[in-house]
Assembly symmetry: C2
Homo-oligomer: 380 residues x 2
């Protein structure tokens, strides 16, 4: 169930060749305060560029329109016009006072089928509902399941978040989206200034294969319908929700058989802790070893070494699924038992860098032969 | 055949469990001027640390001793002592005036079997020869073939280079070595100042899976036995030789079915051109597409977008195997024909960034299901 004042709608507009739901919207009954982060790609899609301009303007937002099946990226000025038209038409059809965010995901380099988008848009208001699941499903591309979490604050306000992952089965479907809706009223300035750090510790700590998309975006919309929230409690809940969504994106990485969690402590700074964790979570060699349930700490140290984080090799500690395997020197441990313990839905590697007190965490997944099969399986 | 004044020897000392050659040396009949580059890993192995100190001292070098099968990395102070002992013992046995470089590659985190190393060392002088092939073979770990090239200058001096790649079949065998021997006399200061750029454009432009090793190193040893070379001709020949070796390392990437060459032009700087080329060559999505012979330029643009290089999307051009597929906008092309043309031992992607005049090139290989099978295939 969405927070108070929000409605969602979803349908199949014929953008995806599969005929699955591919167009959805969420609207609020009043303008929202919001925070946003988009891809750092220099080839960012039209929807990201538009969102940036809107965000910088300080204007409120009253909802969003998402299409899957077509990224409207690398489509030049014509693509920007399509995007602007989609936004304007949605605001008209949904009769919102404030602007709507647009978000597109799917194939790169194809013009949006605007007739289908507009026809679908016109039908959306017939589908308004208070449930969020259909919306979570309609933003999926190659995800194997919808990603939906919620939190309730002690003062009663709710947060509901959806996400889609970067499973990239069909060429170019690489986008990560996350949208959080809440009926809490918040201090927008405080939210915006905290949001970058939250994104760094959640969505930017997820790596499936290192391939950043042209369309990645995350946003939180706060309509205030349930009154003011205590800001620090709100931010903690928002981060926990985004962390849950981020972990599911990693878990649902394509071809993945396990979630890979890298926890770093004893780092010189949070930045270095995150760098170290992300580099390990993204190492093709480590990911392959995890696929084979091999407690191969040599690969972990090699990945740490190139992460850019400072290491104290004499104090460096490595534990796999709770078993210490390295502590300044290789430790004797039961390889077969650790390998067996890695046959779990989550493999946790704990690293102590020995250079400070900062911590960080990142999530990835194992690299399977299935990943390659999926991404190479293309017949021209 | 090695350049004048150099001899090589190789044998199986029992460091590799397979019983294959794993210990080799090259010595010069006189001290050499030299240049060196080592891994940037914060977990660099003992041999890299020692080489750095030696290099910074300005002392000449009279050859090198390489073992395969054991990286002597993450072995603490004991490992440093083993390395120092190996170097000292080799200089004694080979009766050199100047120091020898040591280089180790193989499993991380195991002490060197020093008795076997010393016994093997004592036997090496019985195997001195003027051919370089046995040396090229003995430095291999998981390479499928030895890598050996040579160049002759117009003034008669020769350069012979060997390399081993980062095929990483067995856990942790991730090291890239390249050693070039020449009988040219050169200006050492000019060589050292040019060497960083040459390494950036050759070995640092190779990516197999993004996993930098603890032990990577490259060095050039110039004994001057054939007299002085014209410096600019020498540097051009050295770079061409190192480029040949680098390309073979990419081609022999594990599980690879094709060499992937990314040529970038129109970049704002050489650094950005190299960044863009390397990011594309290392993209798991693009590598998977190349494995499937899919001319998937959307993935190329996504990789370019996150490379850090500036792009002018309106001027951006992409060509695959010579066929333009994008020029500011998607182009119409024969996908089946381009896919067919990618069934070649080398797939070339040309990118024009439209932001300047600088160029750069990087090499990788496709990502195959075989890569994962190889790296996950571990039974504890």
């Amino acid at each position: 169930m969405l927070p108070q004042g929000f409605l969602a709608a979803a349908l199949a507009a014929g953008i995806k060749p599969s005929g699955k739901p591919d167009l959805s919207a969420v609207v609020s009954d009043r303008p929202c305060q919001w925070a946003f982060a988009g891809t750092r790609s220099a080839a960012a899609a039209a929807c990201v560029e538009r969102a940036r301009v809107l965000y910088a303007s300080g204007a409120p937002l009253q909802g969003l329109l998402v299409n899957a099946g077509n990224a409207n990226a690398a489509t030049g000025e014509a693509g920007q016009q399509d995007n602007a038209q989609m936004a304007a038409r949605a605001a008209q059809v949904f009769r919102t006072q404030a602007a709507l965010l647009t978000a597109s995901t799917g194939v790169i380099g194809h013009r949006l089928p605007m007739e289908r988008v507009e026809a679908g848009l016109a039908q959306l208001p017939a589908h308004w509902q208070t449930a969020a699941l259909a919306h979570a499903e309609a933003i999926m591309t190659t995800d194997t399941y919808p990603k939906l979490f919620d939190r309730t604050l002690s003062t009663g306000q709710r947060l509901v978040g959806v996400a889609k992952g970067s499973g990239m089965i069909h060429p170019d479907m690489a986008t990560m989206f996350s949208f959080v809706y809440t009926d809490a009223a918040v201090d927008e300035e405080a939210l915006r200034s905290a949001f970058g750090g939250i994104v760094a510790r959640t969505f930017n700590a997820v790596t499936v294969d290192g391939d950043t998309s042209t369309n990645d975006m995350t946003a939180v919309l706060c309509n205030g319908a349930a009154g003011e929230a205590e800001m620090s409690e709100f931010l903690v809940a928002l981060e926990a929700l985004m962390r849950d969504l981020a972990r599911e994106i990693a878990r649902d990485g394509e071809g993945a058989t396990t979630l890979l969690t890298i926890r770093v402590s004893g780092a010189a700074s949070e930045l270095e802790a995150l760098q170290a964790a992300r580099t390990c979570a993204g190492s093709a060699l480590l990911k392959s070893a995890v696929n084979g349930r091999d407690p191969n700490w040599g690969r972990i140290i090699a990945a740490l070494g190139r992460s850019g984080a400072q290491l104290n090799m004499n104090k460096l500690t490595v534990a796999v699924q709770g078993t210490p395997v390295f502590a300044g020197l290789p430790l004797v441990y039961d390889e077969a038992a650790v390998s067996q313990s890695m046959r779990a839905p989550e493999v946790i590697v704990d690293l102590g860098l020995g250079t400070g007190t900062a911590q960080g965490e990142a999530w990835g997944c194992d690299l399977s032969a299935e990943y390659v099969r999926i991404n190479a399986d293309y017949t021209t």
